[in-house]
């Protein structure tokens, strides 16, 4: 579903992403860990076609992102760190708008169904987004992905700023999408959530993917150690 081949992005002399080789298959949740500036968001921006690679290529659902920017977006959904919807529209209206411009005409019942599936409380459907918490907005984001019938989900630090309960709910939603066969790539700083929801974990540093791990093969403390080792924070462990 998601493949990158030697994907590289340079800004002048600075390398933001260095020959990234990555594959996320159907029903997998791949969590990208790394410090700020490690290249996680650059990877997502390249997969979204927001920026062009210096070299290499990225594929979504077997389509080259750079060659088919519009087509690839039909298969993917994206939830940024701060999902900004239209504050003066309700949850149903926002969902209707974003799925509508993506080419999905849905009935009112369908829209409400997707919002319910995303875990939003029924009494919030008609409320304006300006009254929503971040967790509620993220649920609308998931509903957009569900409504769009996305095959690929790109998440850029979606749980940052969420309280543990909301973060846990969000994790459960990702698991639900996984069972539907969605391939998810999530950039995060949250090791615990990565271990909880991820099937695969990659640790990035200075634009390159330093380690790739299978989530079920390691414990949280092993993941933490691997992360700190990669970040060369050994002295802090003591």
């Amino acid at each position: 579903m998601i493949i990158t081949n030697n994907l590289t992005k340079k800004y002048g002399e600075q390398t933001a992403l260095d020959h990234l080789e990555l594959e996320v298959k159907q029903g997998e949740i791949y969590c990208l860990l790394g410090a700020n500036g490690a290249g996680k968001t650059t990877t997502i921006n390249l997969l979204l076609g927001f920026i062009e690679p210096t070299s290499g290529s990225a594929f979504i659902n077997q389509l080259n992102v750079q060659e088919n920017p519009k087509e690839t977006k039909r298969f993917l959904a994206y939830i940024p760190e701060n999902l900004m919807l239209y504050p003066s529209l309700s949850a149903v209206e926002n969902l209707d708008y974003f799925s509508g411009i993506a080419g999905k005409k849905l009935s009112d019942a369908d829209l409400k169904g997707f919002l319910a599936e995303a875990g939003l409380q029924t009494d919030a459907f008609g409320m304006r987004i300006s009254t929503f918490s971040k967790g509620m907005r993220q649920k609308v984001g998931i509903a957009i992905a569900l409504a769009k019938d996305a095959k690929v989900l790109l998440l850029d630090e979606p749980t940052s700023g969420l309280d543990p309960k909301a973060s846990n709910e969000f994790g459960l939603l990702l698991q639900k999408l996984r069972t539907k066969g969605v391939a998810t790539l999530m950039a995060t700083h949250d090791l615990f959530r990565a271990k909880e929801v991820g099937t695969h974990i990659g640790i990035m540093k200075d634009g390159s993917l330093r380690q790739q791990l299978v989530a079920e093969d390691i414990s949280l403390s092993e993941l933490e150690q691997a992360y700190l080792n990669t970040m060369e924070y050994k002295e802090l462990v003591l």
Partner: protein
């Protein structure tokens, strides 16, 4: 995408109170400016009516005097004002040469606050002595007139700027642009649709507000259908030009603040700088000869001619033997000499007057050639033409008055040189002035403005397509 943009753009505009605010502002601006325009037109009509009434009253007095004189009675009037003298009629009982306002005169003051709308050419006056300038308050000239043309040319672009400067940047700044850009749409097309919808709603509001105001002030737009539709066409294409600029700025510039500054800068250039620079350049390239110098030359010439009036009269009568033959008295007084010399003065002054008018024409031609640099100029000019208050309309009026003044003078010449008294039976034959309006304004500027707007939209698309992908998502 279009149907969803249509549906939700209106909802967003209504919920942000933009539609309500714009409706109120347009109603107020259009209402006040049209009321102002109508007041000016009413004053103009009242002035003309008063002048005509004064002529009627004077004529009644004149006819009474003539009746008394013809009845052999004594009249208590100064001898030179008794209307049996053709010169007394020609000088003290002039006709009113009035420029009646056109039906759409209220939309643009144009040159109406600079030029007078009626003159009374006298038989002893010369063409250059006809005063067409209006005594106007300098304060009013400084600030201009708050008419519909002012609202359309100056204020409407500012409303459009406020309505459109941040269509893309607001999405970028709020963070929703990344979510939009992740959908299978082209952001350029999305911006175009958003601006297109705002243009559509603003057009509806403009048409609605104007129609309401027209009816409210007692004007029926359907009786002046061509003019009204032309006016709407002009406003809408002018609006489209400003929306096209907003499209370019939204795609090219960046933050909302920068967009606003860029659009306001363009407003200053197109609405304020371009017209005044064009005017200044016209004055520099084709400077007007001194009017004082011309008047001095005129006075010198008249003084010189006065010395030779006997000789001039002899030559004049030689050229017009019909006057010498028909008159048995052969009396030749002041007016005989004066009127004969007037012709010579006019001929001698022709080069000076021609130079003055020639330079004025060159200035106007210059502005006419380069008016296309700013849509504000062509729209203002078109509105003036629709209102019948353009420079050309007043020039047309001036020429007609000069022609009528000549007719008025010529009408009394046979009376004067044949020493024939003016009588009651001659009264109905006095020349009358009938103003002929220029053909109404052409709407040729509408397709031109449309083409300019389309070209700007095309330019926006072409350049944004060739620019780097990330530019739209990241503010410059």
């Amino acid at each position: 995408m279009l149907s969803y943009n249509c549906k939700y753009e209106l909802k967003l505009l209504l919920r942000s109170r933009w539609i309500q605010l714009l409706s109120i502002m347009l109603l107020l601006l259009f209402g006040f400016s049209i009321y102002n325009g109508l007041e000016k037109v009413e004053k103009r009509k009242r002035d003309i009516t008063a002048a005509k009434e004064e002529v009627k009253e004077n004529d009644a007095v004149m006819l009474k005097l003539l009746d008394s004189v013809e009845g052999g009675m004594e009249v208590s009037a100064s001898p030179w004002t008794i209307p049996t003298s053709p010169m007394a009629v020609g000088n003290y009982h002039p006709r009113v040469a009035a420029m009646e306002p056109q039906s759409m005169a209220f939309i643009a003051t144009g040159q109406a606050d600079l030029f007078t709308h009626y003159v009374k050419p006298r038989v002893s006056g010369d063409d250059s002595a006809l005063n067409f300038a209006e005594m106007t308050s300098p304060v009013q000239l400084l600030f201009g007139s708050f008419d519909l043309a002012f609202v359309i040319v100056y204020l409407l672009p500012l409303l459009i700027i406020a309505f459109s400067y941040d269509v893309l940047s607001a999405e970028r700044e709020s963070g929703s642009l990344r979510l939009l850009a992740a959908q299978p749409i082209r952001i350029q097309s999305w911006v175009l649709q958003k601006l297109g919808l705002r243009f559509f709603w603003l057009s509806i509001l403009v048409i609605g507000s104007l129609t309401i105001i027209f009816f409210a002030v007692g004007l029926n737009p359907f009786t002046e259908m061509t003019g009204f539709l032309g006016l709407l066409g002009l406003i809408i294409t002018y609006m489209l030009f400003w929306f096209a600029l907003a499209f370019l700025i939204n795609l090219w510039v960046g933050t909302s603040a920068k967009n606003a500054v860029a659009l306001l800068g363009l407003w200053v250039v197109f609405v304020l700088l371009a017209p005044s620079m064009l005017n200044q350049l016209g004055n520099t390239l084709y400077p007007m000869p001194s009017r004082t110098l011309m008047i001095n030359q005129m006075r010198d010439l008249k003084a010189e001619v006065t010395k030779k009036q006997d000789e001039i009269l002899d030559n004049f009568l030689r050229d017009h033997p019909e006057y010498a033959i028909n008159d048995t008295t052969q009396y030749r007084g002041f007016y005989h000499r004066y009127m004969a010399s007037q012709k010579l003065v006019k001929e001698e002054l022709a080069p000076v007057v021609d130079k003055f008018e020639g330079q004025l024409q060159k200035q106007q031609d210059w502005i006419g050639r380069f008016k296309w640099v700013s849509p504000a100029i062509i729209v203002q000019e078109s509105l003036n033409q629709m209102a019948g208050t353009s420079t050309r309309d007043y020039e047309n009026f001036r020429k007609q008055v000069v022609g009528f003044a000549s007719d008025w003078r010529q009408h009394f010449m046979p009376f004067l040189y044949n020493n024939q008294d003016f009588s009651q039976k001659d009264y109905p034959n006095l020349p009358k002035f009938q103003f002929e309006q220029r053909s109404s304004a052409s709407f040729g500027v509408i397709p031109v403005l449309l083409l300019i707007a389309i070209a700007l939209f095309g330019l926006g698309f072409t350049v944004s397509r060739s620019s780097k992908k990330g530019n739209i998502l990241t503010a410059n």
